[in-house]
Assembly symmetry: C2
DNA sequence: GCGGCATAATAAGCCTTACTCATCTTACCA
DNA sequence: TGGTAAGATGAGTAAGGCTTATTATGCCGC
Protein backbone atom coordinates (compact mmCIF):
# COMPACT_ATOMS: atom_id res chain seq x y z
CA UNK A 1 0.00 0.00 0.00
CA UNK A 2 1.34 3.35 -1.01
CA UNK A 3 1.36 5.89 1.71
CA UNK A 4 0.83 9.01 -0.34
CA UNK A 5 -1.57 8.13 -3.09
CA UNK A 6 -0.65 6.91 -6.52
CA UNK A 7 2.95 7.54 -7.44
CA UNK A 8 2.29 7.83 -11.11
CA UNK A 9 -0.77 9.05 -12.81
CA UNK A 10 -1.16 6.67 -15.68
CA UNK A 11 -2.04 8.81 -18.64
CA UNK A 12 -5.08 7.59 -20.50
CA UNK A 13 -6.46 9.51 -23.42
CA UNK A 14 -8.80 11.80 -21.56
CA UNK A 15 -7.35 12.02 -18.12
CA UNK A 16 -10.37 11.58 -15.89
CA UNK A 17 -8.34 11.20 -12.69
CA UNK A 18 -8.25 14.42 -10.81
CA UNK A 19 -4.72 15.47 -10.14
CA UNK A 20 -3.90 14.99 -6.47
CA UNK A 21 -5.40 17.89 -4.67
CA UNK A 22 -3.24 19.61 -2.09
CA UNK A 23 -5.24 19.81 1.08
CA UNK A 24 -6.18 23.17 2.48
CA UNK A 25 -3.86 24.16 5.28
CA UNK A 26 -4.20 26.62 8.13
CA UNK A 27 -1.39 28.36 9.89
CA UNK A 28 -1.67 28.32 13.64
CA UNK A 29 0.40 29.92 16.34
CA UNK A 30 3.41 27.98 17.47
CA UNK A 31 1.86 27.47 20.91
CA UNK A 32 -1.41 26.20 19.53
CA UNK A 33 0.27 23.65 17.25
CA UNK A 34 2.56 22.42 19.95
CA UNK A 35 -0.25 21.92 22.40
CA UNK A 36 -2.38 20.23 19.74
CA UNK A 37 0.41 17.80 19.02
CA UNK A 38 1.06 17.14 22.68
CA UNK A 39 -2.62 16.52 23.32
CA UNK A 40 -2.81 14.11 20.41
CA UNK A 41 0.29 12.27 21.56
CA UNK A 42 -1.09 12.03 25.08
CA UNK A 43 -4.37 10.58 23.91
CA UNK A 44 -2.72 8.03 21.69
CA UNK A 45 -0.20 6.94 24.27
CA UNK A 46 -2.93 6.43 26.83
CA UNK A 47 -5.17 4.45 24.54
CA UNK A 48 -2.70 2.37 22.53
CA UNK A 49 0.38 2.20 24.72
CA UNK A 50 3.47 4.21 23.91
CA UNK A 51 5.07 1.47 21.84
CA UNK A 52 2.24 1.50 19.33
CA UNK A 53 1.86 5.15 18.46
CA UNK A 54 3.24 6.36 15.16
CA UNK A 55 4.11 9.83 13.98
CA UNK A 56 1.50 9.60 11.21
CA UNK A 57 -1.22 8.96 13.76
CA UNK A 58 -0.12 11.83 15.92
CA UNK A 59 -0.14 14.08 12.87
CA UNK A 60 -3.59 12.94 11.75
CA UNK A 61 -5.07 13.53 15.16
CA UNK A 62 -3.53 17.00 15.18
CA UNK A 63 -5.03 17.70 11.75
CA UNK A 64 -1.67 18.18 10.17
CA UNK A 65 0.69 16.14 8.07
CA UNK A 66 3.56 14.06 9.36
CA UNK A 67 6.26 16.43 8.17
CA UNK A 68 4.72 19.30 10.09
CA UNK A 69 5.23 17.55 13.40
CA UNK A 70 8.94 17.72 12.72
CA UNK A 71 8.81 21.47 12.51
CA UNK A 72 7.92 21.50 16.21
CA UNK A 73 9.74 18.46 17.55
CA UNK A 74 13.17 17.40 16.43
CA UNK A 75 12.19 13.73 16.48
CA UNK A 76 9.82 11.27 18.01
CA UNK A 77 11.90 10.81 21.11
CA UNK A 78 11.89 14.50 21.89
CA UNK A 79 8.12 14.54 21.59
CA UNK A 80 7.67 11.56 23.85
CA UNK A 81 10.07 12.98 26.40
CA UNK A 82 8.15 16.21 26.41
CA UNK A 83 4.91 14.38 27.10
CA UNK A 84 6.51 12.49 29.97
CA UNK A 85 8.21 15.56 31.43
CA UNK A 86 5.11 17.72 31.35
CA UNK A 87 3.12 15.03 33.08
CA UNK A 88 5.64 14.17 35.76
CA UNK A 89 6.39 17.78 36.56
CA UNK A 90 2.70 18.44 37.08
CA UNK A 91 2.28 15.35 39.23
CA UNK A 92 5.24 16.11 41.45
CA UNK A 93 4.27 19.73 41.92
CA UNK A 94 2.06 18.90 44.88
CA UNK A 95 4.44 16.59 46.68
CA UNK A 96 4.38 17.58 50.35
CA UNK A 97 7.37 18.34 52.48
CA UNK A 98 7.55 15.25 54.64
CA UNK A 99 9.13 17.14 57.53
CA UNK A 100 5.64 18.45 58.19
CA UNK A 101 4.34 14.91 58.72
CA UNK A 102 4.41 13.04 61.96
CA UNK A 103 6.74 10.10 62.44
CA UNK A 104 8.98 8.14 60.16
CA UNK A 105 6.38 5.60 59.25
CA UNK A 106 3.85 8.20 58.15
CA UNK A 107 6.41 10.02 56.08
CA UNK A 108 7.43 6.81 54.41
CA UNK A 109 3.87 5.78 53.78
CA UNK A 110 3.10 9.15 52.28
CA UNK A 111 5.99 8.99 49.80
CA UNK A 112 5.05 5.48 48.74
CA UNK A 113 1.40 6.41 48.44
CA UNK A 114 2.27 9.43 46.32
CA UNK A 115 4.45 7.40 43.94
CA UNK A 116 1.71 4.86 43.51
CA UNK A 117 -0.82 7.60 42.81
CA UNK A 118 1.44 8.99 40.13
CA UNK A 119 1.98 5.60 38.52
CA UNK A 120 -1.70 4.75 38.50
CA UNK A 121 -2.61 8.12 37.02
CA UNK A 122 -0.85 7.35 33.74
CA UNK A 123 0.48 3.83 33.50
CA UNK A 124 1.34 4.12 29.81
CA UNK A 125 3.74 6.99 30.39
CA UNK A 126 5.15 5.31 33.46
CA UNK A 127 5.99 2.35 31.27
CA UNK A 128 7.65 4.64 28.79
CA UNK A 129 9.86 6.14 31.45
CA UNK A 130 10.74 2.83 33.03
CA UNK A 131 11.38 1.03 29.76
CA UNK A 132 12.78 3.71 27.51
CA UNK A 133 14.24 6.53 29.53
CA UNK A 134 15.68 5.09 32.69
CA UNK A 135 17.72 2.40 30.91
CA UNK A 136 19.56 4.98 28.81
CA UNK A 137 23.16 5.77 29.35
CA UNK A 138 22.20 9.43 29.33
CA UNK A 139 19.44 9.03 31.90
CA UNK A 140 21.17 11.07 34.55
CA UNK A 141 21.40 14.11 32.31
CA UNK A 142 17.70 13.84 31.56
CA UNK A 143 15.09 16.34 32.64
CA UNK A 144 13.05 13.40 33.95
CA UNK A 145 15.88 12.44 36.25
CA UNK A 146 15.91 15.94 37.69
CA UNK A 147 12.19 15.96 38.20
CA UNK A 148 12.42 12.68 40.03
CA UNK A 149 14.86 14.21 42.46
CA UNK A 150 11.85 15.53 44.34
CA UNK A 151 11.33 12.05 45.77
CA UNK A 152 14.97 11.54 46.52
CA UNK A 153 15.09 14.81 48.40
CA UNK A 154 12.06 14.01 50.49
CA UNK A 155 13.44 10.60 51.27
CA UNK A 156 16.65 12.22 52.41
CA UNK A 157 14.71 14.42 54.80
CA UNK A 158 12.87 11.42 56.11
CA UNK A 159 16.19 9.75 56.86
CA UNK A 160 17.58 12.80 58.57
CA UNK A 161 14.50 13.14 60.78
CA UNK A 162 14.44 9.42 61.56
CA UNK A 163 18.08 9.33 62.54
CA UNK A 164 17.77 12.31 64.81
CA UNK A 165 14.69 10.77 66.47
CA UNK A 166 16.52 7.50 66.99
CA UNK A 167 14.19 5.46 64.82
CA UNK A 168 16.87 4.71 62.29
CA UNK A 169 20.45 3.91 62.88
CA UNK A 170 23.17 5.84 61.17
CA UNK A 171 25.51 4.25 58.69
CA UNK A 172 23.23 2.38 56.34
CA UNK A 173 23.97 3.68 52.82
CA UNK A 174 21.19 5.99 51.75
CA UNK A 175 21.47 4.62 48.23
CA UNK A 176 20.46 1.17 49.44
CA UNK A 177 17.45 2.38 51.34
CA UNK A 178 16.33 4.32 48.29
CA UNK A 179 16.73 1.23 46.14
CA UNK A 180 14.70 -0.76 48.63
CA UNK A 181 11.86 1.75 48.74
CA UNK A 182 11.57 2.42 45.02
CA UNK A 183 12.53 -1.08 43.97
CA UNK A 184 9.72 -2.51 46.06
CA UNK A 185 7.27 0.02 44.67
CA UNK A 186 8.19 -0.71 41.08
CA UNK A 187 8.24 -4.44 41.43
CA UNK A 188 4.86 -4.28 43.12
CA UNK A 189 3.36 -2.40 40.22
CA UNK A 190 4.52 -4.59 37.35
CA UNK A 191 1.48 -6.78 37.47
CA UNK A 192 -0.65 -3.68 37.13
CA UNK A 193 1.53 -2.15 34.44
CA UNK A 194 1.28 -5.37 32.50
CA UNK A 195 -2.46 -4.91 32.53
CA UNK A 196 -3.27 -7.64 35.02
CA UNK A 197 -5.98 -6.23 37.20
CA UNK A 198 -6.33 -3.09 39.27
CA UNK A 199 -4.31 -1.54 42.05
CA UNK A 200 -5.64 -0.57 45.45
CA UNK A 201 -3.27 2.29 46.08
CA UNK A 202 -4.15 2.87 49.72
CA UNK A 203 -3.87 -0.75 50.72
CA UNK A 204 -0.69 -1.32 48.74
CA UNK A 205 0.92 1.80 50.20
CA UNK A 206 0.24 0.46 53.68
CA UNK A 207 1.64 -2.93 52.88
CA UNK A 208 4.77 -1.65 51.19
CA UNK A 209 5.46 0.88 53.93
CA UNK A 210 5.09 -1.86 56.52
CA UNK A 211 7.35 -4.34 54.83
CA UNK A 212 9.98 -1.77 53.92
CA UNK A 213 9.95 -0.28 57.38
CA UNK A 214 10.24 -3.51 59.29
CA UNK A 215 12.02 -5.70 56.78
CA UNK A 216 11.63 -9.45 56.72
CA UNK A 217 12.56 -10.36 60.25
CA UNK A 218 10.14 -10.61 63.09
CA UNK A 219 10.14 -7.80 65.56
CA UNK A 220 6.57 -7.66 66.76
CA UNK A 221 5.62 -9.13 70.12
CA UNK A 222 6.18 -12.82 69.73
CA UNK A 223 3.37 -15.16 68.93
CA UNK A 224 5.34 -18.37 69.06
CA UNK A 225 4.85 -20.14 72.44
CA UNK A 226 8.47 -21.14 72.65
CA UNK A 227 9.54 -17.59 72.16
CA UNK A 228 6.91 -16.33 74.53
CA UNK A 229 8.28 -18.66 77.13
CA UNK A 230 11.79 -17.45 76.51
CA UNK A 231 10.64 -13.87 76.74
CA UNK A 232 9.16 -14.52 80.17
CA UNK A 233 12.33 -16.20 81.36
CA UNK A 234 14.36 -13.31 80.03
CA UNK A 235 12.26 -10.90 81.98
CA UNK A 236 12.81 -12.91 85.15
CA UNK A 237 16.52 -13.11 84.43
CA UNK A 238 16.67 -9.41 84.05
CA UNK A 239 14.91 -8.87 87.36
CA UNK A 240 17.13 -11.33 89.17
CA UNK A 241 20.22 -9.76 87.76
CA UNK A 242 19.22 -6.45 89.16
CA UNK A 243 18.31 -7.97 92.49
CA UNK A 244 21.53 -9.83 93.01
CA UNK A 245 24.41 -7.67 94.07
CA UNK A 246 27.10 -7.57 91.46
CA UNK A 247 29.65 -10.06 92.59
CA UNK B 1 21.06 2.10 -0.78
CA UNK B 2 19.81 -1.14 -2.13
CA UNK B 3 20.11 -4.00 0.19
CA UNK B 4 20.65 -6.81 -2.25
CA UNK B 5 22.72 -5.52 -5.08
CA UNK B 6 21.42 -3.97 -8.26
CA UNK B 7 17.76 -4.52 -8.90
CA UNK B 8 17.98 -4.28 -12.62
CA UNK B 9 20.80 -5.06 -14.91
CA UNK B 10 20.74 -2.32 -17.47
CA UNK B 11 21.31 -3.98 -20.79
CA UNK B 12 23.98 -2.30 -22.83
CA UNK B 13 25.10 -3.62 -26.21
CA UNK B 14 27.82 -5.91 -25.05
CA UNK B 15 26.89 -6.73 -21.53
CA UNK B 16 30.14 -6.32 -19.71
CA UNK B 17 28.52 -6.47 -16.28
CA UNK B 18 28.81 -9.93 -14.89
CA UNK B 19 25.40 -11.20 -14.00
CA UNK B 20 24.94 -11.21 -10.24
CA UNK B 21 26.74 -14.23 -9.01
CA UNK B 22 24.77 -16.39 -6.63
CA UNK B 23 27.03 -17.12 -3.73
CA UNK B 24 28.07 -20.66 -3.10
CA UNK B 25 26.00 -22.19 -0.38
CA UNK B 26 26.53 -25.14 1.91
CA UNK B 27 23.88 -27.20 3.53
CA UNK B 28 24.46 -27.89 7.18
CA UNK B 29 22.59 -30.01 9.68
CA UNK B 30 19.69 -28.36 11.39
CA UNK B 31 21.50 -28.51 14.73
CA UNK B 32 24.64 -26.95 13.39
CA UNK B 33 22.80 -24.04 11.76
CA UNK B 34 20.72 -23.37 14.82
CA UNK B 35 23.71 -23.32 17.09
CA UNK B 36 25.65 -21.13 14.64
CA UNK B 37 22.81 -18.64 14.63
CA UNK B 38 22.45 -18.70 18.39
CA UNK B 39 26.16 -18.17 18.84
CA UNK B 40 26.13 -15.24 16.44
CA UNK B 41 23.14 -13.69 18.17
CA UNK B 42 24.80 -14.12 21.55
CA UNK B 43 27.99 -12.43 20.41
CA UNK B 44 26.18 -9.53 18.86
CA UNK B 45 23.87 -8.99 21.81
CA UNK B 46 26.80 -8.96 24.19
CA UNK B 47 28.87 -6.55 22.15
CA UNK B 48 26.26 -4.14 20.77
CA UNK B 49 23.38 -4.42 23.19
CA UNK B 50 20.21 -6.28 22.27
CA UNK B 51 18.46 -3.20 20.89
CA UNK B 52 21.09 -2.72 18.19
CA UNK B 53 21.37 -6.14 16.62
CA UNK B 54 19.70 -6.71 13.28
CA UNK B 55 18.72 -9.89 11.52
CA UNK B 56 21.09 -9.10 8.67
CA UNK B 57 24.02 -8.92 11.06
CA UNK B 58 23.10 -12.17 12.71
CA UNK B 59 22.87 -13.80 9.30
CA UNK B 60 26.22 -12.41 8.15
CA UNK B 61 27.97 -13.61 11.25
CA UNK B 62 26.44 -17.06 10.73
CA UNK B 63 27.67 -17.07 7.12
CA UNK B 64 24.19 -17.27 5.75
CA UNK B 65 21.67 -14.92 4.29
CA UNK B 66 18.91 -13.14 6.16
CA UNK B 67 16.12 -15.29 4.77
CA UNK B 68 17.79 -18.45 5.97
CA UNK B 69 17.56 -17.37 9.58
CA UNK B 70 13.80 -17.43 9.16
CA UNK B 71 13.90 -21.08 8.23
CA UNK B 72 15.08 -21.81 11.75
CA UNK B 73 13.39 -19.11 13.79
CA UNK B 74 9.88 -17.87 13.16
CA UNK B 75 10.88 -14.29 13.85
CA UNK B 76 13.38 -12.12 15.62
CA UNK B 77 11.55 -12.30 18.89
CA UNK B 78 11.61 -16.08 18.97
CA UNK B 79 15.33 -16.03 18.37
CA UNK B 80 15.99 -13.51 21.11
CA UNK B 81 13.78 -15.42 23.52
CA UNK B 82 15.67 -18.58 22.76
CA UNK B 83 18.98 -16.89 23.53
CA UNK B 84 17.60 -15.61 26.82
CA UNK B 85 16.01 -18.91 27.80
CA UNK B 86 19.09 -21.00 27.07
CA UNK B 87 21.22 -18.67 29.11
CA UNK B 88 18.91 -18.36 32.09
CA UNK B 89 18.21 -22.07 32.24
CA UNK B 90 21.91 -22.77 32.34
CA UNK B 91 22.51 -20.17 35.00
CA UNK B 92 19.73 -21.36 37.26
CA UNK B 93 20.70 -24.99 36.94
CA UNK B 94 23.14 -24.73 39.82
CA UNK B 95 20.91 -22.83 42.21
CA UNK B 96 21.25 -24.52 45.59
CA UNK B 97 18.41 -25.71 47.74
CA UNK B 98 18.40 -23.11 50.49
CA UNK B 99 17.04 -25.53 53.05
CA UNK B 100 20.55 -26.92 53.20
CA UNK B 101 21.91 -23.55 54.29
CA UNK B 102 22.11 -22.35 57.82
CA UNK B 103 19.83 -19.57 59.04
CA UNK B 104 17.46 -17.22 57.33
CA UNK B 105 20.00 -14.53 56.77
CA UNK B 106 22.42 -16.84 55.00
CA UNK B 107 19.69 -18.25 52.82
CA UNK B 108 18.58 -14.79 51.88
CA UNK B 109 22.09 -13.63 51.20
CA UNK B 110 22.73 -16.62 49.00
CA UNK B 111 19.66 -16.02 46.84
CA UNK B 112 20.54 -12.36 46.42
CA UNK B 113 24.15 -13.17 45.67
CA UNK B 114 23.09 -15.73 43.07
CA UNK B 115 20.76 -13.30 41.31
CA UNK B 116 23.48 -10.70 41.19
CA UNK B 117 25.94 -13.23 39.78
CA UNK B 118 23.46 -14.10 37.04
CA UNK B 119 22.83 -10.45 36.17
CA UNK B 120 26.51 -9.60 36.04
CA UNK B 121 27.28 -12.60 33.86
CA UNK B 122 25.27 -11.23 30.94
CA UNK B 123 23.94 -7.74 31.48
CA UNK B 124 22.79 -7.32 27.88
CA UNK B 125 20.42 -10.28 28.08
CA UNK B 126 19.27 -9.22 31.53
CA UNK B 127 18.29 -5.91 30.02
CA UNK B 128 16.42 -7.68 27.27
CA UNK B 129 14.42 -9.70 29.76
CA UNK B 130 13.69 -6.76 32.00
CA UNK B 131 12.82 -4.36 29.20
CA UNK B 132 11.22 -6.57 26.59
CA UNK B 133 9.91 -9.74 28.12
CA UNK B 134 8.72 -8.94 31.61
CA UNK B 135 6.56 -5.98 30.53
CA UNK B 136 4.56 -8.12 28.11
CA UNK B 137 1.01 -9.03 28.76
CA UNK B 138 1.94 -12.60 27.96
CA UNK B 139 4.88 -12.69 30.34
CA UNK B 140 3.36 -15.22 32.68
CA UNK B 141 2.94 -17.76 29.91
CA UNK B 142 6.57 -17.33 28.95
CA UNK B 143 9.24 -19.96 29.34
CA UNK B 144 11.39 -17.33 31.04
CA UNK B 145 8.75 -16.84 33.67
CA UNK B 146 8.81 -20.56 34.41
CA UNK B 147 12.57 -20.65 34.63
CA UNK B 148 12.48 -17.77 37.06
CA UNK B 149 10.24 -19.78 39.33
CA UNK B 150 13.37 -21.42 40.68
CA UNK B 151 14.01 -18.26 42.70
CA UNK B 152 10.45 -17.95 43.81
CA UNK B 153 10.44 -21.51 45.01
CA UNK B 154 13.63 -21.12 46.99
CA UNK B 155 12.32 -17.94 48.51
CA UNK B 156 9.21 -19.77 49.53
CA UNK B 157 11.30 -22.38 51.30
CA UNK B 158 13.25 -19.67 53.04
CA UNK B 159 10.00 -18.22 54.33
CA UNK B 160 8.72 -21.55 55.50
CA UNK B 161 11.94 -22.29 57.39
CA UNK B 162 12.07 -18.79 58.85
CA UNK B 163 8.52 -18.95 60.09
CA UNK B 164 8.97 -22.30 61.72
CA UNK B 165 12.13 -21.11 63.46
CA UNK B 166 10.35 -18.02 64.68
CA UNK B 167 12.53 -15.55 62.81
CA UNK B 168 9.69 -14.36 60.66
CA UNK B 169 6.16 -13.78 61.64
CA UNK B 170 3.35 -15.37 59.77
CA UNK B 171 0.84 -13.31 57.83
CA UNK B 172 2.96 -10.99 55.75
CA UNK B 173 1.97 -11.55 52.12
CA UNK B 174 4.67 -13.58 50.42
CA UNK B 175 4.14 -11.54 47.28
CA UNK B 176 5.25 -8.40 49.06
CA UNK B 177 8.38 -9.92 50.47
CA UNK B 178 9.26 -11.21 47.01
CA UNK B 179 8.73 -7.77 45.55
CA UNK B 180 10.94 -6.28 48.21
CA UNK B 181 13.77 -8.74 47.63
CA UNK B 182 13.77 -8.68 43.85
CA UNK B 183 12.77 -5.05 43.57
CA UNK B 184 15.74 -4.03 45.69
CA UNK B 185 18.06 -6.24 43.66
CA UNK B 186 16.88 -4.82 40.36
CA UNK B 187 16.88 -1.23 41.42
CA UNK B 188 20.38 -1.68 42.80
CA UNK B 189 21.65 -2.96 39.48
CA UNK B 190 20.29 -0.26 37.19
CA UNK B 191 23.34 1.88 37.49
CA UNK B 192 25.41 -1.07 36.40
CA UNK B 193 23.02 -2.09 33.64
CA UNK B 194 23.15 1.45 32.34
CA UNK B 195 26.88 1.03 32.00
CA UNK B 196 27.89 3.22 34.91
CA UNK B 197 30.76 1.44 36.55
CA UNK B 198 31.24 -2.04 37.97
CA UNK B 199 29.43 -4.09 40.52
CA UNK B 200 30.99 -5.70 43.57
CA UNK B 201 28.65 -8.65 43.81
CA UNK B 202 29.80 -9.92 47.20
CA UNK B 203 29.61 -6.57 48.89
CA UNK B 204 26.30 -5.65 47.31
CA UNK B 205 24.79 -9.01 48.24
CA UNK B 206 25.73 -8.36 51.86
CA UNK B 207 24.30 -4.89 51.83
CA UNK B 208 21.04 -5.84 50.18
CA UNK B 209 20.53 -8.84 52.41
CA UNK B 210 21.12 -6.68 55.43
CA UNK B 211 18.75 -3.92 54.44
CA UNK B 212 16.04 -6.27 53.24
CA UNK B 213 16.31 -8.42 56.33
CA UNK B 214 16.19 -5.63 58.85
CA UNK B 215 14.27 -2.98 56.99
CA UNK B 216 14.66 0.70 57.64
CA UNK B 217 13.99 0.83 61.34
CA UNK B 218 16.71 0.54 63.92
CA UNK B 219 17.23 -2.94 65.27
CA UNK B 220 20.09 -5.09 66.37
CA UNK B 221 21.59 -7.16 63.62
CA UNK B 222 20.51 -10.35 65.30
CA UNK B 223 20.60 -13.36 63.07
CA UNK B 224 18.54 -15.67 65.21
CA UNK B 225 16.34 -14.30 67.98
CA UNK B 226 16.03 -17.64 69.74
CA UNK B 227 19.75 -18.07 69.93
CA UNK B 228 20.25 -14.49 70.95
CA UNK B 229 17.66 -14.84 73.64
CA UNK B 230 19.22 -18.03 74.94
CA UNK B 231 22.64 -16.42 74.91
CA UNK B 232 21.41 -13.57 77.07
CA UNK B 233 19.71 -15.90 79.52
CA UNK B 234 22.74 -18.11 79.76
CA UNK B 235 24.94 -15.14 80.51
CA UNK B 236 22.62 -14.10 83.32
CA UNK B 237 22.36 -17.63 84.62
CA UNK B 238 26.08 -17.93 84.74
CA UNK B 239 26.42 -14.73 86.69
CA UNK B 240 23.65 -15.68 89.09
CA UNK B 241 25.16 -19.04 89.74
CA UNK B 242 28.40 -17.42 90.74
CA UNK B 243 26.70 -14.74 92.81
CA UNK B 244 24.26 -16.89 94.76
CA UNK B 245 25.80 -19.00 97.47
CA UNK B 246 25.49 -22.61 96.63
CA UNK B 247 22.49 -23.91 98.47
C1' DG C 1 30.03 -43.40 -9.91
C1' DC C 2 25.65 -41.18 -11.25
C1' DG C 3 21.07 -39.13 -11.64
C1' DG C 4 16.80 -37.72 -9.18
C1' DC C 5 14.92 -35.18 -5.67
C1' DA C 6 13.62 -33.19 -1.17
C1' DT C 7 14.66 -29.25 0.80
C1' DA C 8 18.23 -25.84 2.40
C1' DA C 9 19.73 -21.47 0.92
C1' DT C 10 19.59 -17.51 -1.88
C1' DA C 11 18.19 -13.11 -3.92
C1' DA C 12 14.91 -9.99 -4.56
C1' DG C 13 11.63 -7.98 -3.15
C1' DC C 14 7.43 -6.00 0.31
C1' DC C 15 5.85 -3.35 4.31
C1' DT C 16 6.08 -0.25 7.96
C1' DT C 17 7.77 3.69 10.14
C1' DA C 18 10.94 7.43 11.30
C1' DC C 19 12.70 11.24 9.10
C1' DT C 20 13.98 14.84 5.11
C1' DC C 21 13.21 18.35 1.78
C1' DA C 22 11.69 20.91 -2.35
C1' DT C 23 7.68 23.23 -3.29
C1' DC C 24 3.48 25.44 -2.42
C1' DT C 25 0.48 28.52 0.33
C1' DT C 26 -1.06 31.46 3.85
C1' DA C 27 -1.41 35.20 7.01
C1' DC C 28 0.43 39.36 7.96
C1' DC C 29 2.03 43.95 7.08
C1' DA C 30 3.54 47.86 4.45
C1' DT D 1 -3.70 44.80 -2.02
C1' DG D 2 0.37 42.53 -3.16
C1' DG D 3 5.11 40.89 -1.37
C1' DT D 4 7.09 37.83 1.60
C1' DA D 5 8.67 35.10 5.62
C1' DA D 6 7.70 31.06 7.39
C1' DG D 7 4.22 27.36 8.05
C1' DA D 8 2.38 23.26 5.82
C1' DT D 9 2.30 19.83 2.41
C1' DG D 10 3.39 15.72 -0.42
C1' DA D 11 6.65 12.88 -2.10
C1' DG D 12 10.33 10.49 -1.24
C1' DT D 13 14.51 7.83 1.36
C1' DA D 14 16.54 4.61 4.56
C1' DA D 15 16.41 0.85 7.68
C1' DG D 16 14.92 -3.10 9.38
C1' DG D 17 11.65 -7.09 9.85
C1' DC D 18 9.69 -10.47 7.11
C1' DT D 19 8.15 -13.32 2.67
C1' DT D 20 8.73 -16.11 -1.33
C1' DA D 21 9.93 -17.73 -6.10
C1' DT D 22 13.86 -19.76 -7.69
C1' DT D 23 18.24 -22.11 -7.47
C1' DA D 24 21.35 -25.64 -6.23
C1' DT D 25 23.21 -28.97 -2.92
C1' DG D 26 23.96 -33.18 -0.64
C1' DC D 27 21.95 -37.58 0.03
C1' DC D 28 20.16 -41.97 -1.49
C1' DG D 29 19.18 -45.74 -4.40
C1' DC D 30 20.95 -47.87 -8.10
Amino acid sequence: MLRHGPLKIRGNRMNTEKKPRRRKSTRLSQDQRVSDILAAANDLIDTKGYENVTMVEIAERSHIVEGTVYRYFKNKDELMLRVAEDWLRLKLADLLDVSALNGTYNKLRYLIWHSLKVIVSKPAVTRYIMLEVRPRESYKTTELFSINRAYTNQLRKLFADAISSGEMKRGVPERLLRDMVFGTIEHSTWRYLRGEGDLDVDELADEIAMVVFHGMSDRQPVTNPLEASLARIEAVAERLEKAVPAG
